[in-house]
């Protein structure tokens, strides 16, 4: 199914998902799975899961799963079309919300809204870190590596790339079994 006429279909599906994806692409993963696998029959469930794993392994935002779905269905043009469709409407919204927030930066209500939302954002960041750790830390060695990273990040400005490289080496050496 690598023909050009699926691209409009891809665009339409991801445009529709864009504005309901509160929390990012992972928030609409079940709906995306339903449309891609059950409704459009573009791939089977195992293929979808594999694409998700690849998207997780790559650097970048979790929206990359959308790029891979587009690629699987219609090659590189499909990847670009799906990514643009998924990010387009929400980005336009972000643009205007950001501008609005800047314009009212001294308004008491804006400050109150931001003060009320900030702790939720922090809680969600910590929750996603916790969920990542639950998935990654199946051994004490891996958990210790996670804890060490937290300490280094909190207390130094050490470039995390070295930590990631160290983690990769320990993984290859079998110290941190997956």
């Amino acid at each position: 199914m690598k023909s050009g006429d699926v691209i409009p279909q891809l665009i339409w599906q991801f445009l529709a998902l864009s504005l309901i994806a509160i929390g990012g692409a992972n928030a609409v993963l079940p709906e995306m799975h339903r449309q891609v696998v059950d409704v459009s029959h573009w791939m089977n469930g195992a293929e979808f899961a594999t694409l998700f794993a690849i998207a997780q392994a790559a650097p970048g935002p979790n929206v990359l799963i959308v790029s891979l779905v587009g690629w699987k269905v219609a090659g590189v043009p499909g990847a670009l079309a799906a990514t643009a469709a998924m990010c387009g409407p929400s980005s336009v919204l972000a643009f205007y919300v950001g501008r609005l927030s800047q314009r009212f930066r001294e308004a008491p209500l804006r400050r109150v809204i931001q003060d009320g939302l900030a702790p939720i954002t922090i809680g969600i960041v910590l929750a996603s870190g916790y969920l990542l750790a639950r998935g990654a830390d199946e051994t004490w060695a891996a958990a210790a590596l996670t804890a060490l990273t937290v300490l280094v990040v909190c207390n130094t400005r050490f470039n995390p790339l070295w930590l990631l490289a160290g983690g990769a080496l320990l993984g290859v050496a079998g110290v941190v079994p997956f």
Binding site: G24, A58, G60, A94, G116, P119
Partner: protein, 194 residues
Amino acid sequence: MTDPGVQPEAAGTPAATRKSVTRRDLFFAFLGVGLSGFGGVLPWARRMLVEQKGWLSEKEFTEALSLGQIIPGPNIVNLSIMVGARFQGAAGALLAFSGLMLAPLVIVLVLGALHEQYGQIDWVRRAIGGVAAVAAGLVIGTGFKMAMAQRRALWPVAIAVAAFVGAGVLRFPLIAVLLVLAPVGIAIAWKFRA
């Protein structure tokens, strides 16, 4: 309580001025964030914007991320749009977004093609396991750093814990967590407003 790290007077002023950040700066800075974002972009975005470039203060970063969180779309993509727009308008937003997405898009498509060709190689899988353990620590550390920059009071801690338990432990959908906690948080913030 006094906190030498946060100056309340300065909290409303932008950390960097409009003129000082060029379109080229935006593109390449976000390109760097996208390139190094193995296991999550958030720690890298905060490091670049707050620690390295100083384009946003710690508080401004949390504010922009909060907005990015409650509107639809990936929060980091929304953050790049808002930061780009703030310094260079629509062109800046487009450049920051393109910079952020370019490298990851190329890499993920190459990975997808390699996977189709060679399947999964064992040592690659193990390396990803090690990277994942570090990546989790990066995200947790980033959350703690963001928390340290907040005003010290009991209610934000309670709200943050509730969000953590709801999204992390009970695994409620994010939209449910936001729908319940956002009105509560805003109402309490209103009650305790300065």
